[in-house]
Structures are given as structure tokens and as C-alpha cells.
């Protein structure tokens, strides 16, 4: 295995290559540090209590209701995390991609990912399930009679230009798959019968593994592909090369 820029190589999140990833990583670390500290405090109290000898009971003050002060502090901490989380969710998912974003379709099928680019007309051609025939080179069932389908390109590798937002339309032909790019901090299930959208902006040139995160059959573990983030010129070159 070659070492890839965006490939997981440690026991931690792989290097982030997406514009929204910095805020995400910050939130992740913040949350983990907070719960980690709480965990250590709780364990320390537990161990200290188990070891401490009996105190004179007569001197005891009555225990207050659940350590009410501590509970209030915890409530504030959890509420603060929640508000931050909801804001981040709203920023990243409540609105769709910019209308000028690049369009790519991702289709999952046991056990491959297909990627479709709409071509110069910027419009995806019609697909029909009865036309699906991978052996004949038409894995997505493109309707060749539809003129808009003529320039559609179907690939087995996802190549994206750096610093340009991409609007992924996600479909599945058979069962539920999970479209997961750890390096892009992106995960969305591909749901048969529906077309779902997810958008992100790659901002670091490199190669990032794409894996399936929802068990989908015996080949689930090998349902992997590669995202290659390249500069604009390389992308155009690649895409026109594809078109030949």
C-alpha cells in the first residue's frame, strides 16, 4: 500500500482535506477532551471512595440533592455542546450546495462505487433500471436515446478539483450502502429508492480512501474506491481525457 496524503495511517482521524473539516476536528477534540476529563474525575472519585475509611457519621452533613451544583454545571456543559453541535449541523446540512457547485453522482451497488459526471451540458441524462447492464458497459442504465446522457461519464474513481464545492447526489441500486470518506469528514447513507444530497469542498490535494460504512453483503469490506483531489488544470485534463 502506498502512503497517501489523506489515508488513515494512525490510530486517530486521518489528516483533514475538506474546508469544513477544521471546525469539525476542533469540535471533535473539544468534546472528547470534555468527556475525557469528566471520565477521569468520575473514576478518581470512584477509586478514592472505595479506598477511603469510614468517617465519623455524627459529623456528616446531610447529602444535598444529587450534588445539585454539579448537576447544574453538567447541564450547562451539555447544553453548550448541544448548541455548538446544532449550529454546526445547521451550517453544514440545513442548506444545499451552492447552485454553481460541481455536480457528481455517486451510485452504490454490491460491492462497487460508480461516479457519474454530467459532462459539458452540466445535466445528468436519464437512467432506467431495465437498461442496467454492467457487462455491456452500462452499469447505471444510461438511456442512450437521451441526448443529455451522451456526454455523461461514468468512472470507478472519484476525481475532484481542489477548492471547488461539490454537490454529490447519492443513490443505490440494491441495498443501503454508506458513502464514507474519512479524510473529507463526510458520511451519508445511499438509500435505494431515494436520491440524497451531500456537499463539501475539498481543499487539500491528495488521495483519500472511500469506504462503505453500512454492512451491505459479503463484500462489504472490499467496497472501496479512491477520491483523488487534484488542481483545476489536472482535473480538466482528466475529464477531457475521459471523454475521448
Amino acid at each position: 500500500m502506498t502512503l497517501l496524503a489523506g489515508a488513515p495511517s494512525s490510530w486517530w482521524m486521518p489528516a483533514n482535506g475538506a474546508a469544513h473539516g477544521a471546525a469539525f476536528d476542533h469540535e471533535m477534540v473539544l468534546s472528547l477532551v470534555i468527556v475525557g476529563v469528566l471520565m477521569i474525575i468520575a473514576k478518581a472519585i470512584l477509586v478514592a471512595s472505595a479506598l477511603s475509611p469510614a468517617r465519623e457519621r455524627a459529623a456528616e452533613r446531610p447529602v444535598n440533592f444529587f450534588g445539585l451544583g454539579t448537576l447544574i454545571v453538567l447541564t450547562v456543559v451539555f447544553a453548550w455542546l448541544l448548541i455548538r453541535a446544532e449550529r454546526m449541523r445547521a451550517q453544514q446540512r440545513f442548506t444545499g450546495a451552492d447552485p454553481t457547485a460541481m455536480q457528481v453522482e455517486v451510485v452504490g451497488e454490491q460491492f462497487v462505487w460508480y461516479f457519474r459526471y454530467p459532462g459539458p451540458d452540466a445535466t445528468f441524462g436519464t437512467t432506467r433500471p431495465e437498461l442496467v447492464d454492467a457487462a455491456a458497459g452500462n452499469p447505471l442504465g444510461l438511456d442512450r436515446r437521451d441526448s443529455r446522457a451522451a456526454d455523461d461519464r461514468v468512472t470507478s474513481e472519484l476525481v475532484l478539483p481542489v477548492d471547488r464545492e461539490v454537490d454529490v447526489r447519492l443513490r443505490s441500486l440494491d441495498v443501503i450502502h454508506g458513502f464514507f470518506i474519512p479524510g473529507m469528514r463526510v458520511k451519508q447513507n445511499a438509500l435505494p429508492g431515494s436520491t440524497l444530497h451531500i456537499h463539501f469542498t475539498p481543499d487539500l490535494i491528495g488521495e483519500y480512501p472511500i469506504v462503505c460504512s453500512q454492512v451491505c453483503g459479503l463484500g462489504h469490506y472490499r467496497m472501496q474506491a479512491q477520491l483523488r483531489v487534484v488542481n483545476e488544470a489536472d482535473f480538466e485534463h482528466w475529464l477531457t481525457g475521459r471523454a475521448k
Binding site: 468527556v35 444529587f66 441495498v175 454492512v215 462489504h220
Partner: protein, 575 residues
């Protein structure tokens, strides 16, 4: 033996066990034995899984190299076995049946015949599940959550034919058995309490079983409906969960209807999340009672503890969407489910704070310098509850969860809280109630060894899974090496995890040895060995079911030369 019998709790005098008796104690032991078999099978499956994941080329005797579909069948059956037949069955129907009637002052469950029938229905469910291993195609491979269309269409993989049908039949039977048991338990609590046993005076264990039984009734009825619908999708041409066109193995499967797999996810998790609390609430109730018993102190507020139990049960029904942040559910819905999920952290935190606050005053009762094993396992329960629970507020955040969803981080989370915490609750219950059903104490020395080995190996096995999840490793990957070795660098981590998982599994031989050795050789317990307040320790001399005079948290009081007051004891002025 004869002498000891005179001192043994009244209910323990009758010896022997019959799987066909309607006596609640016999039914309880049947349930516990069934869980013991299930946990043994489930553990064995996980050992094979761990072996394969860390050393993928190892050939097993009589099996050879484990194929991807074998691995997924192991995962599916391990999860199903543990969640249904261990974590749902043992705390609720095993220990619930054993102790609940005595704790509310009833001689028997409300419907003894239904009780026996619910055990045998559960047993049938178990048999049907096991049989899935031996049919053509083998056991199902779609995980314990069985998401359609994978679970709805037989051609999606081996095991998804007859194996999947058997899985559906098994879980449907399990739903029926659990619902019958829950009705029985609810009726017993509502109708069969002895005089003076007001709801407010019920032990927290009884409250936990009561809330769990309510949740069982609501959650399993929804699961049952979902199972029937999935069966119809498979065999009757309906399309509840399957869209109009499906292309499987290049074959177009056109259907008349146009359903959505999302409906299954909603129904399944509406059951699935309360299920987590069904598994853990009895352990929480027991931890509360044992913290009071072994510190000889009251918890800060008894009514507050009852309230948190009810709140957890109630909120448990409002958080199912946090399993669906990446499912394609409307993104706005995640706002609501993040809120409810964060909210459930509060009653849970209040409970933990009550335990810690009480424990922090020190002076845990010791037995010749050592903390008794029942209390050690309670401390272990609290420890795992905290460790597994605190990643909850991380997973409640939709964006963070989107990254962690279906990775090993979640595997770590639920093995700590739902697996280990609940299992430590069961160990605590076994040590604590062993004298109740047997008149003998379990061996403390073996208990301590078992505790420490289990605690250490469980942490060393499950905690590092968080890191595999942070690296992005999805669940259900049967192989990490090879041409697509995206996660091959995690193999050393997985070897470590597997090694400690084997230690964890092996350590359980100490528990089995202790149980079976103590059945005949345990030291006689005498009556009320833990100096407890609840009715199952009623002195046998009193014979009849008495009236209840106080709440079960009367610890640290001076009464009749002791530091507690049993619920059966009348107030001093009347003595």
C-alpha cells in the same frame, strides 16, 4: 444442611429445579440457564470473530479459513444472541422473576402459567435462532439490525434466504415471550404488592423492572409489527421497505409497491433504543440498592431516584433518531433528536452523581478488609456505565456522530455501556442474590479474582476500539489486509484487542467455577447475610408475608441494635 435450612430465607428452603414448574423461582432459573447458554455461545462466536479479524489467515480446525460471509454471520449471531437472549433475558426475566415477587411481598407472579409459557416461547426462539447455523446458506449476515432491502431480498447474500427467515421467526417468538413476561411483571407489581408496599416504598430494583417491563411492552410490540411487515415483503409481495425497482446481481426485481427502507429504520430503532434501557435499567436499580447497602447510607433522595428511573424510561422512547443521523432522514429531524439525546444524559448524570456522592463519604462495608465481590461488581458497573455513557454526549452531536456512526467507536461505546456495564450488573446480582436462592454465599476469593481479571481485560479489550473508530474503521469489515488495506495499519491494535478479548473470555471460567462450586460447597449464609432492608431477606421466623412499614432506604438508622430497619419491621413505638 438441615440446621442451615432453618436459617435460610423461607423461599430458599425448597430445593431442586424443574423446567416445567410454574413456580417463579423455577422459571427464573430456567431463564438464567438459557442466558448462560446464550452468553457462552455468543462469547464463542466473538472469540472466532476476533481471531479472524486479527489473524485473517489462520485456519480453524473443522472450518478452514473464515470466509467473509462466515464472519458476517458470526457478527450477526453474536449481536442477536447477546442483545436478546442475554442482556434482555437475564436481568429482566431471570433476576426479575427470581426476586421481584419476594421484593413486593407477593408469593408468586400474577400469572404463573403465562410465566412458564413465556419462558418456553423464549426457549423456542433460541432454538430457532441456533438452527439458522445449520440450514442451507447458513446464518443471516445483515447484522442484528437487519436493514432492508438487504434483509428483504434473499439473493443479496448467503444466509439471507432461509437463515434470515429463521432469524425473523426467532425474534418474533422472542417478542411474544417478552411481551407475555412484561404483562406478567407489570400485573404483579400493580396488583400483588403486600399491605403497606406503596409505589413509593418499592425497592429501586422493582422500579427498574417495572419501567423496563413497560418499555418492553411498547418497544417489542412495535418490533413485532416491523418483523411481520418484513416477512410480508419477503414472501407476500408487499413493499413496505423495498423501493419499486431493485437491481440485485444484475437482475431487475420490479415490485408493484414503492416502499422505503427508512420506515424499517424508524420502527427498528423505536424498539432498539428503549431496548438499551431495558438491558441497563435493572442494573442501575441494583447498583442504587447495593450502594445504599454497602455504604449503610441513604441515597440523597429516594423519590428523586424513582423519578430518574421513570425519566430515563420515558426519554428512551424519544431518542431513536440518533441512530439515523446519516440514514437520509430529514436533516432538521436531527436537531430534535440531538436535543432529546443530550437531555437523557441529565437523569443518567443525576443517578451517577447520587451514587458517587454517597460512595464519596467513604467507609464501604468490608469483609475482613476486602470489599465483598457483590459491591466490587457494583463499582465495576458504575465505572463501565460512566465510561460508556460519557461518549453518549459526543455521539449525540449529529456531525460528530456522522463521522463516528458505524465505526468501531460506536462498537466501543455500546460494549462498554450495554455489554460490560449490564454484565457487571448481572455478576453483582449473582453474588448478591446467590444466598437468596441457595442459602449459601459465593466464594469471595474467586469472586475477587474474577472481578479484577474481567475488569482489566474488558477495559483493555474494549477501550482501544475507540481509536480504530477514530481512524475511521467501519464495523463489519471482515478483512483489513489485502489489496484494499486502507485499515491494515490497525492490525496491531486489533491483535491487542483480540488478545485481551481472549483473556476476558477465559476469565469467565472463574465465574462458572464459582457458581457451580458454591451451589453445594458455599458457606451457609444465614438469614439476611447483607443486613438488607428489602423483603426478600425477610427473616424466616416471621413466616407469613408481613405488612410493609417503611421505605427500603432505612440504612444508617439506629433500630433494634442494628444500623438498618427492614421494610417488614413496624415502627419502634408499636413494638
Amino acid at each position: 444442611m438441615k440446621d442451615e435450612a432453618a436459617f435460610a430465607p423461607a423461599a430458599a428452603r425448597r430445593s431442586g429445579w424443574s423446567p416445567f414448574s410454574r413456580d417463579h423461582r423455577d422459571v427464573a432459573i430456567s431463564y438464567l440457564l438459557l442466558s448462560l447458554v446464550a452468553v457462552a455461545v455468543g462469547t464463542l462466536l466473538s472469540v472466532v470473530m476476533r481471531l479472524h479479524l486479527a489473524w485473517p489467515d489462520v485456519k480453524l480446525p473443522f472450518w478452514g479459513v473464515i470466509k467473509p460471509e462466515d464472519y458476517l454471520a458470526l457478527v450477526t449471531m453474536h449481536g442477536t444472541m447477546m442483545i436478546f437472549f442475554v442482556l434482555t433475558t437475564a436481568p429482566q426475566n431471570g433476576f426479575g422473576n427470581l426476586v421481584l415477587p419476594a421484593q413486593v411481598g407477593a408469593r408468586e407472579m400474577a400469572f404463573p402459567a403465562i410465566n412458564l409459557a413465556s419462558f418456553w416461547t423464549t426457549f423456542a426462539a433460541f432454538t430457532v435462532l441456533i438452527s439458522a447455523f445449520f440450514v442451507r446458506g447458513g446464518a443471516p449476515i445483515s447484522g442484528w439490525t437487519s436493514y432492508p432491502p438487504f434483509s428483504a431480498i434473499a439473493s443479496t447474500g448467503p444466509g439471507q434466504g432461509l437463515g434470515m427467515d429463521l432469524w425473523l421467526a426467532s425474534i418474533a417468538l422472542f417478542c411474544i415471550g417478552s411481551s407475555m413476561a412484561a404483562v406478567n411483571m407489570l400485573t404483579t407489581v400493580v396488583r400483588r404488592r403486600c399491605a403497606g408496599m406503596t409505589m413509593g416504598r418499592m425497592p429501586l430494583t422493582v422500579w427498574a423492572w417495572f419501567v423496563s417491563a413497560l418499555s418492553t411492552l411498547l418497544a417489542f410490540s412495535v418490533l413485532f409489527a416491523a418483523l411481520v411487515m418484513l416477512f410480508c415483503d419477503r414472501h407476500c409481495g408487499t413493499s413496505f421497505f423495498v423501493p419499486a425497482s431493485e437491481i440485485v446481481n444484475g437482475q431487475l426485481l420490479a415490485r408493484r409497491g414503492d416502499g422505503s427502507p427508512l420506515l424499517w429504520l424508524h420502527l427498528f430503532w423505536f424498539f432498539g433504543h428503549p431496548e438499551v434501557y431495558i438491558a441497563i435499567l435493572p442494573g442501575m436499580g441494583l447498583a442504587s440498592m447495593l450502594v445504599m447497602n454497602f455504604t449503610r447510607r441513604r441515597l440523597p433522595s429516594y423519590r428523586g431516584m424513582i423519578a430518574t428511573t421513570i425519566l430515563i424510561g420515558l426519554l428512551g422512547f424519544m431518542v431513536w433518531g440518533h441512530h439515523m443521523f446519516v440514514s437520509g432522514m430529514n436533516p432538521y429531524a436531527s436537531t430534535a433528536f440531538a436535543l432529546t439525546t443530550m437531555a437523557i444524559a441529565l437523569p443518567s448524570s443525576a443517578t451517577v452523581l447520587a451514587w458517587l456522592g454517597t460512595l464519596a463519604r467513604g467507609g464501604l462495608r468490608r469483609n475482613g478488609g476486602d470489599i465483598p465481590a457483590a459491591m466490587l461488581f457494583t463499582l465495576g458497573f458504575i465505572s463501565f456505565f460512566v465510561s460508556g455513557g460519557l461518549t453518549g454526549p459526543v455521539l449525540a452531536q449529529p456531525n460528530l456522530d456522522a463521522y463516528l456512526h458505524n465505526t468501531f467507536f460506536v462498537v466501543a461505546h455500546f460494549h462498554l455501556i450495554m455489554g460490560m456495564a449490564a454484565v457487571f450488573g448481572l455478576f453483582a446480582a449473582t453474588h448478591y442474590w446467590f444466598p437468596f436462592f441457595n442459602g449459601r454465599l459465593m466464594n469471595e476469593r474467586l469472586g475477587r479474582w474474577h472481578f479484577w481479571l474481567t475488569l482489566v481485560s474488558a477495559y483493555l479489550a474494549f477501550f482501544p476500539m475507540h481509536f480504530a473508530g477514530m481512524a475511521g474503521e467501519p464495523r463489519h469489515f471482515s478483512q483489513l489486509t489485502g489489496s484494499l488495506g486502507t485499515f491494515a495499519h490497525l492490525i496491531p491494535l486489533h491483535r491487542w484487542i483480540s488478545a485481551w478479548a481472549f483473556v476476558l473470555a477465559a476469565a469467565q471460567m472463574l465465574f462458572l467455577t464459582n457458581v457451580f462450586h458454591s451451589l453445594k460447597q458455599g458457606s451457609p449464609a444465614g438469614s439476611n447475610p447483607w443486613a438488607a432492608t428489602t423483603l426478600e431477606w425477610l427473616p424466616p421466623a416471621l413466616g407469613e408475608i408481613p405488612a410493609v412499614h417503611c421505605s427500603p432506604d432505612e440504612y444508617g438508622v439506629r433500630h433494634a441494635g442494628r444500623d438498618f430497619k427492614g421494610q417488614w419491621e413496624p415502627p419502634p413505638e408499636q413494638e
